[in-house]
């Protein structure tokens, strides 16, 4: 069963990314590194685009031209934010498949760290399990 519904995922990640951009300088880092990301998530099926301006979802996101696209299942997303995922191993095992310059993909991991620190707050808020 999916770890979250599409509705919860959009609300949660909308808040999480917006806060990372506003409070943790993530937008500036994305801009400086020339990175935008398009997430294609299954179970629940959803798409999200993020650049320095913040996250957008659904058909609006589909229209964008991302630098990096990442495809994974919802439970892998949850594990990632819980720091419960070895991302290079997940990539090697095709649990995550990424399109876009490998160097930018490698660079994304350290940039996303602040989000991992605040993710448990959102798990509480949206009543998600704190263990993957």
């Amino acid at each position: 069963m999916a770890i979250f519904t599409k509705k919860v995922a959009e609300e949660l990640f909308g808040e999480l990314w917006t806060r990372m951009i506003k409070d943790y300088g993530f937008g500036k880092s994305l801009k400086e590194s020339g990175i935008s990301i398009y997430f294609v998530v299954s179970d629940p099926d959803m798409v999200m685009f993020v650049d320095e301006n913040g996250p957008i979802f659904g058909t609006e996101a589909e229209k964008k031209m991302p630098v990096v696209t990442m495809k994974m299942k919802g439970d892998i997303v949850h594990k990632f934010w819980l720091k419960d995922l070895n991302v290079p191993m997940a990539l090697a095992l095709r649990q995550i498949v990424a399109k876009g310059p490998v160097n930018k993909v490698l660079q994304l991991l350290p940039l996303m760290k602040p989000g991992m620190e605040i993710y448990p707050e959102y798990c509480k808020k949206f009543k998600l399990p704190m263990k993957a």
Binding site: S33, V40, T69, K71, N86, V87, P88, M89, L91, A92, L93, R94, I96, V97, A98, K99, G100, P101, V102, N103, K104, V105, L106, Q107, L109, P110
Partner: protein, 418 residues
């Protein structure tokens, strides 16, 4: 010689400037260094005062040691096309010195691939900032008893206990203790300061129980062998590394058995596609020599190139160069843009491009007749260097078997339709 680029319409001003600058380095620094080193003994190649050290210092000052590394950590941050442009020119300058620059970055590049933040801070960033060539990596995988089978993860024997590695590590508290020996083929082995070391952690699973670590080579218990003498790529230093109760922190192990095979596959995919890009350079060098010689050498009252049958021979060298370039660029562009890489394409690129580059070097000697065999011309060196590429980074037959294994396991591969 100026060589037309079939993708000229896609080249930016930066790409063209990069190509010119790298070619200048290849022509003015690499070629003369490689020529000098080729005639020296393997020990003299790495002795104090050898032209190798001046070459390395220049290469580091210009940043060629960090071509592959992410900009974020201090690397050059080049596009796949730019990486190809640089490696083609370096391969043209000298295949052996290109390989040396390639393995020099390997422990650091793979630390990034494995996302090991401790090693990135401690070793990758200083390596990127290094301009005096004092930090040098190597890739220590093969052993006296294990060559092709070290990478043959598709073979049935790979994970059997009979596959006993020479270099073993055991965990003692928070440290790994390492013993054993790597083969005389470790490129840059006798001059490296850091190794990307492949070793066995759990012998009951054969090589399925292997791991990969980064090991600083100034630790107690590390010794090196004598530099290896060989017929090709004599400018590429090689030699054994021995480990006698060498201790490293557990965190230096980039991959333990669960991550070993996937990381091995990613490393092979990277190394093999890069071998193909350097092959473009050596194939082009052979074509250019053939063309120049064919215009100079007069037989039957006119230059060789004016004999109709000879034109076809020169054209074949040109055609192979273009095919090699097309394959290697496409594969580099693919595998520097998808994670995980599609290893079968890297295996296509390495096996096919090195074969064709070798055919070019072989045919160049034939085109030059007796002169092709003399040391007065570069042809015989290109031939010896290209010959080694058929074995280096995995025998081509072994790589093709492995490619077949990937096809059997994964094809038809679904499109990356997202």
């Amino acid at each position: 010689m100026e060589y037309f680029d079939i993708q000229f319409m896609n080249l930016t001003e930066d790409d063209i400037a990069l190509k010119k600058a790298t070619h200048k380095f290849a022509e003015e620094v690499m070629r003369p260094t490689a020529k000098a080193l080729d005639t020296m003994s393997a020990e003299d190649v790495v002795a104090d005062g050898s032209p190798l050290w001046t070459f390395l210092k220049k290469a580091y000052e210009l940043g060629y040691h960090k071509t592959l590394l992410p900009e974020y950590y201090g690397g050059l941050g080049l596009s796949p096309l730019q990486v190809h442009i640089v490696f083609e020119e370096l391969g043209w300058g000298s295949f052996g010195l290109s390989v040396l620059l390639g393995v020099i970055c390997f422990p650091f590049y793979v630390s990034c691939l494995a996302g090991n933040e401790e090693l990135i801070e401690k070793y990758v960033k200083p390596f990127c900032a290094c301009t005096d060539a004092s930090i040098r990596g190597c890739w220590a995988i093969t052993e006296p008893d294990h060559g092709s089978d070290y990478i043959a993860s598709g073979e049935d024997y790979f994970t059997t206990p009979k596959m006993h590695g020479n270099v073993q590590a055991r965990l003692e508290g928070d440290e790994y203790v390492i013993n054993g020996q790597k083969s005389a083929w470790v490129s840059g082995g006798t001059i490296a300061t850091h190794a990307l070391l492949f070793l066995q952690l759990d012998p009951k699973h054969g090589f399925g129980g292997n791991g990969i670590c980064v090991l600083p080579l100034d630790l107690d218990g590390v010794t090196k062998g004598k530099p290896l003498e060989k017929i090709g790529q004599r400018d590429l230093n090689q030699g054994e590394i021995y480990f006698d109760n060498v201790r490293i922190p557990k965190s230096y192990m980039l991959a333990e058995p669960t991550f070993y095979e996937p990381l091995l596959e990613m490393i092979l995919a990277s190394a093999n596609m890069i071998m193909a890009t350097w092959s473009t350079g050596i194939a082009r060098a052979a074509f250019e020599e053939a063309l120049v010689y064919s215009k100079e050498r007069v037989q039957g009252t006119r230059p060789l190139i004016e004999h109709y049958a000879h034109k076809q021979r020169v054209f074949k060298l040109f055609a192979r160069t273009e095919v090699i370039r097309a394959i290697s660029r496409n594969v580099l562009n693919l595998n520097l843009n998808v994670s995980p890489p599609l290893a079968e394409y890297s295996l296509v690129a390495k096996s096919q491009c090195t074969e064709m580059a070798f055919q070019n070097a072989h045919e160049l000697i034939q085109i030059m007749g007796g002169n092709g065999l003399t040391r007065e011309y570069i042809a015989e060196k290109l031939f010896r260097d290209a010959r080694a590429t058929l074995i280096e980074d995995g025998n081509n037959e072994t790589l093709e078997r492995h490619g077949g294994h990937i096809l059997a396991e994964t094809y038809p591969r679904p499109p990356l339709d997202f």
